[in-house]
Symmetry: C2
Subunit: 366 residues, 2 copies
C-alpha cells in the first residue's frame, strides 16, 4: 500500500490531469457508471473546553478506473475570544501542529487498499478544477477577460484552472489589500502566461470580464445582482458569495451537486439528522430552539454539473445568456477521480513509500 | 500510528472488556455523549463479470474515551452458479486470497489517527457482546439453561458472552449436523466451564431454555412463534431468524438500533438513496421494477438497546414476561467502544507495529 505526502502529490498532479479526470468522472456519474455517497459530518461537542470535534467523510466509486475513494477530515474546532470578536477556526492539534485530512483509495476489482495520502493538495485543485469544467461548458467561447475576486490559494488555483479551458487576453484581480492583489498578479502572470493586472475596484473587474470568479474568505455577498449582465459566466467557491438575488439574475444556473449542505450528526441531538442547521452556530447558541433553520435555497432544483458534462442539459445556448455555476459542496467523486490519477502516476514513477498491504487484509470471513 | 492484526486483537481482547465498554458506550449514546453515523453501503455493479463491488462504512465518536472510529468494508461479491443453485458470496480477491475490513481510530482531542486494524475479531465479539448486554437487562435473573441454535463462530461467541451475564447450569446446543453440534459442545464446555450438551431437536432446546439464541446462517425462520412462552428471553443475529410473527409473541421487544437496514447508494440508480431494497437482489433482477420493496417491519418503533441500558425503558418487569432482543444492524459505536479498548490495551502492552503518525498529518490548512 502506497503512502504519499502533499509535496509528492503537488509534484505529480497537473491541472490538465485534474480537468480531464474530473470531466470523465462527471460523465460516468451521469451514465450510472459511478456512485457517490454525500458528505456526512459527525460532531462531538466538548463543553468543558468550548471546543468541538468534527469528523467528516464522503465516498465515491468509479467504473474507470475501478477505484473507490474515502475522504475524511478529523478536525478540532475552537472558538477564540479575540477581544472585539469571537473567531472560530480549525486548530492544528495533531502532533507538530498539524491537521488531519486523508484520502483512502481502494481497488474495486480486488477490494484491497491501494493508497493513503493527505487531502490538502487535491482539495485545493479539485474545487477550482470542477469550476473550470463547468466554465468549459458554460462560458462564452470567445472571452477577453477573466475577473478574479480574491487573492488566496483558492483564487490562485482558479486562475490556473480557468486559463486551461479558455484563452483569455488578460486576468483582472481585485482584493481589498493592495499588496495582496499586486503580489497575486505578479505571481500568477508568471504561472499562466497571460497578463494579470491588479485592480482596486471590484465593480470594474466585473464590468470588464466575460468570466467572473468569486474565490474569497468573505462570509457576505461578493457579487451583487447588478453586476450580472448578458454573456457573463460567474461562479463562486461557496453559495454565500453570490446570494440568492444574484443567482436569480442568471439566465441559466448549474449546481455542483443539488445537495447544498452535509448531513450533520451531533452528539446530544438524539437520532435526528440535522441537515439544515449550521451545526457550529447551533452548538454555540444559548437557546438552541431560537436557531433558525435556513430555508432551502430557491435554486435547489437547478441541473447539476454531471448533467451539463453529459450533454443532457446545455451549459449555454447563446452568447447573450448569463450563466452561473454554484459550487455547492464537495463530492467524494472528485477524490476518486483525482486520487485515482495521482495513484496511477505515483506507481508509474515509483513515488512514495510502500508499506505491506498485508497489514490491511484479513483471513476472517466477513 | 499503531497497526494491529487480528491475532494480536484476539490475544488482547476479552469478552468481559467488550461487555463493559459496550455497556458504557450505549449509556453515552443515551446521554448524548456519543454520536453515531448509521451504515451506508455503496455498490458498483460490474455487469461484465456478473459481480458487484460493495464499500460499507459507519462511524461513531465517544466522549469517554475521546475517540472516533470509522469501520469500513471493501468487498467483492460474486454470484456463482453451482448447478442446482446460485450462491452469492464475498470473494477474498485481495492479495493472498484475503478480505478487507478495517477500523480506523482517531483521537477526538487532537484529531490524529491513532490506529488502523482489521475488523474481523472485533466484528465477531461485538455482535455477541451487544446481545449479551441486552440479555443482562432483559433475561430473567435466575436461569437454568441457555439454548443455542447454531454452531458457527457467531454461536461460539454468543455462548461465551451470555455466560458472562448470567449463571447458567447448562447450555443446550442444536445444529442440524451431528458432528458440528458435538464438537461445538466439547469445545465450548472447556471454554465457559458450564456443561454444554448437544441436542438433536431444536424444539427440545427451546423448551428447556430460559434464554434462547438463534445464531445461524439460515435465511429462513429459526424460532417459530409457538416456542415463545412466559419468561423466555430470545434473540438472534439477524431479524429473519425470528420473523415478525415470532417477534409479535414477545411481551417486550428491544432493537439494537431502530434503523434495520443500511442506506444503499447504487451506481446507475441516480441520486436515489435505496434504503428498502436488498441491493444484491435488486441488481440481479431482470426486471428491476418487479423487485418488491420490503415493508417496514411492524416492530420498528420498539425501544433501542441504549434506552434499556440507560434505564429509560425497562428490560423486564416480571419473571413471567417474554422478551425479545433483535440484532437489527451494527453500529459504528461498537467499533469505537471495543476498538478504543483494544487500542489502549495494545499501547499499554507495547503490542503492534508503529508507523510514523506524521505520514497521515498535513500542514495545509483545511
Amino acid at each position: 500500500m502506497l503512502i504519499l505526502n502533499n509535496d509528492e502529490i503537488e509534484e505529480l498532479l497537473s491541472m490538465e490531469t485534474c480537468l480531464e479526470v474530473l470531466n470523465k468522472a462527471y460523465q460516468q456519474l451521469a451514465d450510472g457508471h459511478a456512485v457517490n455517497r454525500p458528505r456526512t459530518d459527525l460532531y462531538l461537542p466538548f463543553p468543558e473546553t468550548s471546543g468541538v470535534y468534527a469528523f467528516k467523510s464522503m465516498e465515491a466509486g468509479l467504473f474507470d478506473p475501478k477505484v473507490v475513494a474515502l475522504r475524511l477530515n478529523s478536525d478540532v474546532i475552537r472558538w477564540e475570544d479575540r477581544g472585539d470578536r469571537i473567531v472560530k477556526d480549525k486548530i492544528p492539534k495533531a502532533p507538530g501542529g498539524k491537521w488531519v485530512g486523508l484520502v483512502l483509495l481502494f481497488s474495486a476489482e480486488t477490494g484491497e487498499p491501494l493508497a493513503i495520502f493527505p487531502d490538502g493538495v487535491i482539495q485545493a485543485y479539485r474545487v477550482a478544477a470542477s469550476s473550470a469544467v463547468a466554465a468549459r461548458y458554460m462560458a462564452q467561447e470567445h472571452v477577453a477577460c477573466l475577473g478574479m475576486l480574491g487573492s488566496g490559494w483558492q483564487a490562485r488555483a482558479h486562475v490556473e484552472a480557468f486559463c486551461k479551458v479558455r484563452s483569455f487576453e488578460k486576468v483582472l484581480v481585485f482584493s481589498p489589500t493592495q499588496a495582496n492583489r499586486e503580489s497575486f498578479a505578479e505571481e500568477m502572470a508568471a504561472k499562466v502566461d497571460v497578463p494579470v493586472e491588479p485592480c482596486a475596484d471590484a465593480a470594474t473587474v466585473a464590468r470588464q470580464s466575460q468570466v467572473l470568479v468569486a474565490a474569497t474568505n468573505a462570509i457576505t455577498r461578493v457579487i451583487p445582482p447588478e453586476w450580472v449582465r448578458p454573456g457573463l459566466h460567474f461562479t463562486c467557491v461557496k453559495p454565500s458569495e453570490l446570494g440568492d438575488e444574484t443567482v436569480a439574475r442568471a439566465d441559466r444556473v448549474v449546481l455542483h451537486t443539488r445537495k447544498a449542505a452535509p448531513e450533520n450528526y451531533i452528539a446530544g441531538m438524539g437520532d435526528e439528522r440535522v441537515v439544515a442547521h449550521d451545526p457550529l452556530e447551533f452548538l454555540n447558541a444559548a437557546d438552541k430552539d431560537a436557531v433558525e433553520r435556513p430555508k432551502e435555497p430557491p435554486w435547489v432544483d437547478a441541473p447539476e454539473l454531471k448533467d451539463v458534462v453529459s450533454g443532457r442539459v446545455a451549459g449555454r445556448t447563446s452568447p447573450e445568456e448569463s450563466t452561473c455555476f454554484i459550487n455547492t459542496i464537495g463530492l467524494g467523486l472528485q477524490f476518486a477521480a483525482v486520487g485515482g490519477a495521482v495513484y496511477a502516476d505515483a506507481k508509474a514513477k515509483g513515488v512514495g513509500r510502500e508499506i505491506p498491504t498485508e497489514w490491511f487484509l484479513e483471513s476472517v470471513h466477513p
